[in-house]
């Protein structure tokens, strides 16, 4: 036992070291980088972000779409999670595998799939033109909507996993108790099941928002040049223009906003747990 304990301590330190070296150090480097201009401490790069209409618009878009997508994802995800949780144990496993299966595939490939579905000659537009011949197809690809659809698709498995787990934790006896006390099934859902699944909803919201706000691939592939996110700008600054400090500053701003939003969500999550 003692030997085992030692082993775990060493393993823990190795993990910590790995985390510090490969995650914290680069992050700190980014942080310092964004505050230095020609060897002097400067807020130049931050001033640029908050005075440039382009940057501000992209920042706004990133946050707006992230909130929107999180909201839509939660509604769809809750419905699917509830549906699965009502199935028999055996069926639940099958449905979960089905829901999570996209995660076993590269996001790039999945997004190519969406490009084919949403494109000018894609399935959706073909169905549309078949329904109303003569009219032009709707420009779906390279739009706001396409990005939102893509991110919902990307986040949904994470949302479902969290909400499903919290729904599973609601003791069936509580539902039975509510019915025995004379409450209908619908009221039982709103008075017992939903409040008790709130921790899962908040956890799902956190993950969904963090993933949305930091996504790089989805706006790039489905949004086109007019629907970029902050992460795309940071990439451009660093890779295309070699402007490391500007890219770093963009990343730090994004990180800062995401951390604030997550703190707010986790504040509500803690309150819902105590409740």
């Amino acid at each position: 036992m003692i030997k085992n304990k030692k082993y775990y301590t060493i393993a823990g330190w190795l993990a910590a070291l790995y985390f510090i070296l490969l995650f914290l150090v680069p992050l700190l480097r980014m942080f310092t980088l964004s505050f230095f201009s020609e060897g002097k401490i400067s807020f130049e790069y931050y001033t640029t972000i908050f005075t440039s209409p382009v940057y501000l618009r992209v920042l706004y878009r990133t946050l707006y779409v992230s909130f929107l997508v999180t909201g839509i994802g939660l509604v769809i995800g809750y419905a699917i999670s509830y549906f699965i949780s009502q199935k028999s144990e055996k069926q639940q496993k099958k449905w979960l595998i089905l829901v999570l299966s996209p995660m076993f595939m590269s996001l790039t490939i999945r997004l190519f799939g969406w490009m084919m579905l949403l494109g000018q000659e894609g399935l959706i537009n073909r169905v549309f033109s078949w329904l109303s011949p003569g009219k032009d197809g709707i420009p779906l690809l390279f739009s706001y909507t396409a990005v939102a659809i893509g991110i919902v698709h990307y986040c949904l498995p994470f949302i479902i996993l969290n909400i499903y787990a919290s729904l599973k934790r609601v003791d069936n006896a509580l539902i039975e108790a509510s019915l025995m006390l004379g409450e209908s099934k619908v009221k039982t859902f709103w008075k017992v099941i939903f409040p008790l699944s709130l921790p899962g909803i908040f956890a799902a919201a956190s993950i969904s928002f963090a993933l949305s706000a930091s996504t790089f691939l989805v706006p790039l592939m489905l949004g086109g040049p007019n629907n970029l996110f902050v992460s795309n700008l940071a990439y451009n600054a660093i890779v295309n223009m070699g402007d490391y400090p500007q890219g770093a500053a963009l990343s730090i701003v994004l990180l800062f906003i995401v951390v604030i939003v997550l703190s707010i969500i986790s504040f509500f999550e803690r309150r819902s747990r105590i409740a």
Binding site: D171, A173, L174, A177, L179, M180, L181, E183, L196, A275
Partner: protein, 369 residues
């Protein structure tokens, strides 16, 4: 509860109730009647179907045949929220996000009563269960016993037609269990609710019930008052469940009061079989004494008792009793154990022969199963 308009007919009636589980009948042709205000226990080992019966009465499961009537209304297909029954769950099933008061008021709010009415009733039942002080606490701040009392108050508050109990005391320790038994009994005396109580503990059933249904394999072995079940267990299974733990095989019933086991004659207190039939004898561990020890035990020799010889296999003390493992014959085919309610000094020697007084009331005879 306003009970003046309730007639003394059956409150609960189960007729030919059947329940399948994966196409296999777990309950078949079950019949049960319970009068208003009676306390019924469904007693049996796990898998006997007692919880299934309770859940069918509750509406949490539906029968695959037969009918269930509550107050002469056929509820066989009525959902649980339309049956007006109170249920106390094994794991309490309190709503963790609500206070004690909100838990107790839950069913009253569901009935859309007026605010003052909800307040009045919730407070009344909180007081009855001694919870008034804890009304604003959350369930997780309460002990197990307190949680079960909230569950009781919550079910009573809706003033249900029947109170259902699903092994409510099985999660409590022995001391709390006794206390809660007492409380449930007193509440029943006071409120005179009709109750169905599921348990695997014969002591709980005996303590609380007006009637006990002993279940085995989805069938009722005996349905009777506690004293009848204790003194006249209908089957060997019931006898075994109520402490007739000794079994003698290949016994022959001589007459209504005498049975012969390999030539040894034992008095029999209860049997429904005809003389001459062969079967098994069940005997309690207590109600036996050693000849010469009667005065100390207060067990006077009477015509109900008969002295027999037995051989000692083992003798040990057990608390304030003496436990003896004996056999009727020297070969040791018919061994049995008895508890003498004193500390016998010195312990009888192993292989020695002793004379036993047997109380016929503790011996029963059944046909071979």
């Amino acid at each position: 509860m306003d009970r003046s308009d309730i007639q003394m007919s059956s409150t609960i009636s189960l007729k030919g109730v059947k329940k399948l589980f994966e196409r296999h009948a777990v309950i078949e042709d079950l019949n049960l009647q319970l009068k208003d205000g009676e306390f019924l226990s469904l007693l049996g080992p796990s898998g006997a179907g007692k919880t299934t019966i309770l859940r069918m009465i509750a509406g949490l499961e539906y029968p695959d045949g037969g009918e269930i009537r509550i107050k002469s209304r056929d509820v066989s297909t009525v959902p649980p929220n339309k049956r007006n029954l109170g249920m106390v769950f094994q794991q309490y099933a309190l709503f963790p996000h609500m206070t004690v008061w909100e838990n107790v008021a839950y069913g009253l709010k569901a009935r859309k009563l007026k605010k003052e009415m909800i307040k009045e009733k919730a407070n009344k039942y909180l007081a009855l269960t001694g919870l008034s002080e804890l009304a604003s606490r959350k369930p997780r701040e309460l002990s197990g016993g307190q949680q079960q009392r909230v569950s009781l108050a919550r079910a009573l508050a809706i003033e249900p037609l029947v109170m259902l109990f699903d092994e409510p005391l099985s999660n409590l320790d022995a001391r709390l269990k006794d206390q809660m038994l007492q409380e449930i009994h007193q509440l029943h005396q006071k409120l005179k609710f009709t109750a169905v109580y599921v348990t695997h503990d014969q002591n709980e059933a005996l303590f609380l019930s007006d009637k006990i249904a002993v279940l085995n394999g989805g069938k009722i072995e005996q349905f009777d008052r506690p004293e009848m079940i204790l003194s006249q267990p209908a089957t060997a299974f019931v006898a075994d469940f109520f402490g007739y733990t000794n079994t003698f095989a290949s016994a022959i019933l001589k007459d209504e009061h005498m049975v012969s086991i390999s030539g040894v004659e034992l008095p029999v207190g209860y049997t429904t079989e005809t003389p001459g039939s062969s079967g098994i004898v069940k005997m309690r561990e207590n109600g036996v004494n050693i000849v010469g020890n009667e005065e100390a035990s207060g067990l006077e020799p009477s015509k109900a008792e008969k002295s027999i010889e037995a051989y000692v296999i083992e003798a040990r003390y057990l608390g304030s009793e003496t436990k003896l493992l004996l056999r009727l014959d020297q070969e040791g085919e018919h061994s049995f154990s008895v508890k003498i309610p004193q500390i016998i000094r010195p312990l009888p020697e192993i292989h020695s022969k002793i004379n036993l007084l047997i109380n016929a009331d503790y011996v029963t005879f059944y046909l071979e199963e």
